[in-house]
Point group: C2
Chain length 96, copies 2
């Protein structure tokens, strides 16, 4: 099943480190489609592991995660307009 | 129907202005759930207007929009973990 993971990580002292960690975890399970949005193709067991890793990586008081279950036939539920953002995986920078 | 709008706006010269405009447009149709993620409850006609406004507001070469059609019973498709981000609507800042 396809699960969309959206995250906001606060820009406090450790924010950059948590942001990189969250992105790294998501990369193991899916594809980055926007700066803080990943599309992950996971089975229920993988989803549990993904969630556990992410929820350990964030600061629950100031960061947030949203999971959207897009189900099986998710392809016709998604539309993209504009630039395909190329992400520099090493430095988490947006390349234009 | 519920449509999730996710956007990435490049941080170039006019990026901040486009970012505010995109957020303002989304605010007319829905609720901000993360810094660049809105949940919009729209009918087909409203969705068309929302898209037209957003696609006029962005720079197609460097910004991106993703629409996710969550359908009718979207409530059990969404999970939130962590902070409920309070957004300062005036300055588009995240308040923690």
């Amino acid at each position: 099943m396809k699960v969309l993971v959206c995250y906001d990580v606060a820009r406090d002292d450790n924010g950059a480190r948590r942001l990189r960690k969250v992105a790294r975890i998501c990369e193991d399970y899916g594809i980055r489609v926007q700066y803080s949005v990943f599309e992950c193709l996971v089975d229920p067991a993988q989803l549990l592991m993904l969630k556990r890793s992410l929820e350990q990586a964030i600061n629950m008081k100031v960061d947030s995660l949203r999971y959207y279950h897009l189900g099986k036939n998710w392809k016709n539920k998604v539309e993209h307009v504009g630039a395909k953002v190329a992400i520099d995986m090493e430095n988490d920078l947006l390349l234009f």
